[in-house]
């Protein structure tokens, strides 16, 4: 018997402010441990899909549904989705003054597990994870993302990913704006997450560098609010070779 999918997106339609359609009939199946790559030109709706899966109230689902481990999450609050095992690495992580990274992660861990956090074990895990990501220990005491450079923010997202161990992580352009070394560090972190938890991934990216250490199972090309082509890892190369122009000529461009 086939394994039940982790994420099932069926005929999903999404609008902004319930009037402007932005995603059209999205269908997606993600199983445990799979790595999906989502590519597409700017404005295709990739980030919108990530936000919608995570339940950002700014985006209204006007049709279809989102199932996670068989449960309908379409109308569920964001925190419930996180508790079910969904994670989104933000393209532009927000700065939250006055809350240290470590106290934020402790709070999140407690919220996700409904268990008190064992401080020593938590601290040990945090220190180890910081090391994996070549991050200085002081990041744990700094306010969440406040004054972090673009690269530090992205690393901090991967730090959260590793600390919170979700079942499915959506990484929204985690590699953009990173130098070569940082991309390597981040992709090491992603690999670690993938291996340790058999964690599934949806990676939104324009580049291939971040994918080098990962075995890509599926590639989706998104254009103008639709997934227009799905293939295996080789599709990534094809897209990088040929660009999106041919797709846009065929499926239209978002104005």
């Amino acid at each position: 018997m086939a394994q039940e999918p982790l994420l099932q997106v069926e005929h999903l339609h999404v609008s902004i402010d319930e009037t402007l359609p932005i995603l059209n009939d999205i269908n997606l199946l993600v199983h445990k441990g799979e790595t999906h790559v989502l590519m597409g030109p700017n404005g295709a709706g990739k980030s919108t899909l990530g936000y919608t899966l995570m339940g950002n109230p700014h985006y209204a689902v006007t049709g279809g549904r989102i199932l996670f481990e068989g449960l309908d999450m379409t109308q569920e609050d964001t925190d419930k989705r996180a508790k079910a095992g969904l994670f989104l690495s933000f393209q532009n992580p927000l700065e939250v003054p006055g809350i240290s990274m470590s106290s934020f992660l402790r709070n999140a861990t407690r919220a996700l597990t409904d268990q008190p956090v064992k401080l020593l074990a938590f601290q040990k895990k945090l220190n180890e994870t910081l090391r994996v990501l070549d991050m200085d220990g002081v990041y744990a005491d700094r306010d969440l993302n406040v004054g972090f450079s673009g690269g530090e923010k992205k690393k901090a997202e991967i730090l959260q990913l590793l600390m919170l161990s979700p079942k499915l992580a959506i990484l929204d352009e985690t590699d953009s704006g990173l130098d070569v070394d940082a991309v390597r560090t981040v992709s090491r972190g992603i690999e670690e997450y993938h291996k340790k938890n058999d964690g599934a991934l949806i990676i939104i990216t324009h580049a291939t560098k971040i994918l080098e250490a990962l075995k890509v199972d599926y590639t989706h090309v998104m254009v103008n609010g639709r997934i227009v082509e799905t293939g295996d890892a080789s599709l990534v190369e094809k897209v990088n070779r040929e660009g999106f122009e041919a797709y846009e000529a065929r499926y239209g461009k978002r104005e």
Binding site: D77, D79, A82, F90, V96, P97, G98, A111, L112
Partner: protein, 481 residues
């Protein structure tokens, strides 16, 4: 007026601060409502004032009657002085042994955690219940350094001089400083204060004495329809250093209560005073409080302030930087919820050369609450190279609340360096979404953002007060009044 009453009626409970120990007539003496010469004389007789103080009270009453009502801030029409009793006291006198404090009062303070705090981390504690201090105590090692922390009245009557016989003229010291910094002509409620003041503290820290743990005063206004008019006079002598903390709370009633205290702070050469306040008056309180500090050469005045309570507040601590290189620092937060109009701010007067001021003010409004921050910086001609940097940052938690920032500057010197920065913003939906995407519930996410916003203030407070402040923020956040 009826809207005002309705607003008061809608107020929800303030959890641990809102409990009433009913005051029975047998145990309490209560002056009748209103303000007349007879009442002022009776309060004066109660206090066994020397003649100068009795005369002073009468003079203040006259000024009060001649001074018009303030008309520039939040509406205080709901405050009817004919319905305010200016003096309520327990029939027992002040104690310096906690066990001797009357049971009902002791229970109140114990629920507020006052005696524990003293045992754990304070150099001295004063507790005022309604109009009178019920308890005052200073650690022996602090007292032995010559630090005075006691009620004002006994000092004025000369009892402290007689008791200590150390050659110091404390009675004279009080007479010389009392309502000199805040004269009764300052405004109507300063005059009212002068007429019926009762309770509060006198602190004197001798030259060069460093008090390493804070002194604390706690004010509880327990009686309905009463006023509290405590006077705090602190003199930090040359090179001395002290931290004074005041906490205020009251149970909620459906009638107006009034707090018109007065704080006068004298910071001598090279001395440092930190004055911290956590105020959580109930939401039927008119908090019309006056605080003022004067700082001499190389002296440092630090204000830390958390204002959470009251229905209406007028509160603008003023600092006069008199001596050269005198400094002041202000770190404060105001949280205005439903039915609250908190008009706060500060005033700085630069007189000495190279005087500096740093202000960090935060304001949170929620549920239709109104927060106004007024700052006034005056740089006099003598204040060469004065420097002031003011930053105020406001966070509105919804679209029905309101925040205003009103800066005023009066610069008479040509080389002053004055900066004013104001930021006003709504709580970010994206930030809430970000925290929720990590499993944190919406309410908790908001509370985290708000306490993070308040963090620069909490950081300035001793641990247990920071915890109390965070608790107050949590209460305000949960409170859907």
């Amino acid at each position: 007026m009826s809207d005002e009453k309705e607003a008061l009626r809608r107020q929800d409970s303030q959890s641990m601060y809102d409990f009433k120990n009913e005051e029975s007539d047998a145990d309490f003496f209560r002056e009748k409502e209103g303000l007349t010469k007879e009442i002022v004389l009776r309060v004066s007789a109660e206090k066994r004032d020397p003649a100068w103080m009795r005369e002073f009270r009468l003079k203040c009453l006259k000024i009060y009657e001649e001074t018009p009502m303030v008309d520039w801030g939040p509406d205080i029409a709901g405050l009817d002085m004919d319905r305010i009793s200016s003096y309520v006291r327990h029939k027992e006198d002040m104690k310096n042994n906690w066990d001797d404090v009357p049971e009902d009062i002791k229970n109140t303070f114990e629920r507020l955690g006052i005696p524990q705090a003293e045992r754990e981390s304070l150099a001295g504690v004063g507790a005022q219940f309604d109009s009178e201090l019920v308890y005052h105590n200073v650690r022996r090692e602090v007292a032995e350094k010559g630090v005075i922390y006691t009620d004002l009245e006994s000092v004025i009557r000369g009892e402290l001089d007689a008791e200590r016989a150390d050659g110091m003229d404390y009675a004279g010291m009080v007479k010389e400083h009392f309502m000199k910094l805040v004269p009764p002509t300052d405004h109507k409620f300063a005059a009212l204060h002068g007429a019926v003041w009762s309770g509060g503290s006198f602190v004197y820290v001798p030259k060069g004495v460093y008090v390493d743990i804070p002194l604390q005063s706690y004010f509880r206004l327990n009686a309905a329809g009463a006023g509290q008019f405590e006077h705090t006079l602190i003199i930090v002598d040359e090179g001395a250093d002290v931290h004074f903390i005041e906490g205020c709370s009251a149970p909620k009633y459906n009638v107006a209560n009034l707090h018109a205290g007065c704080v006068e702070l004298y910071v001598r050469k090279k001395a440092r005073l930190r004055y911290s306040t956590i105020e959580n008056w109930s939401k039927n309180m008119y908090n019309l409080n006056t605080k003022r500090a004067i700082v001499e050469e190389d002296g440092v005045m630090e204000w830390v302030s958390g204002s959470f309570g009251s229905h209406i507040s007028y509160l603008y601590p003023m600092t006069i930087l008199k001596g050269d290189r005198a400094q002041m620092e202000f770190t404060g937060i105001t949280f205005s919820g439903n039915g609250q109009n908190l008009d706060t701010g500060l005033k700085i007067v630069h007189q000495g050369k190279e005087t500096t001021a740093v202000v960090n003010s935060k304001s949170i409004s929620k549920g239709g609450g109104i927060g106004t921050f007024r700052s006034a910086v005056v740089v006099q001609k003598s204040a060469k190279k004065a420097k002031a940097s003011i930053s105020c940052d406001s966070l509105m938690l919804d679209s029905i609340s309101r925040t205003d920032t009103i800066p005023a500057m009066d610069v008479r010197s040509d080389d002053a360096d004055i900066g004013h920065e104001a930021k006003i913003g709504r709580i970010s939906d994206e930030a809430i979404f970000y925290l929720m995407s990590r499993g944190i519930k919406e309410d908790d996410a908001k509370a985290m953002i708000v306490s993070g916003f308040a963090d620069p203030v909490s950081k300035e407070l001793p641990l247990e007060y920071a915890a109390e402040m965070n608790n107050l923020i949590k209460l305000e956040m949960e409170w859907n009044g």
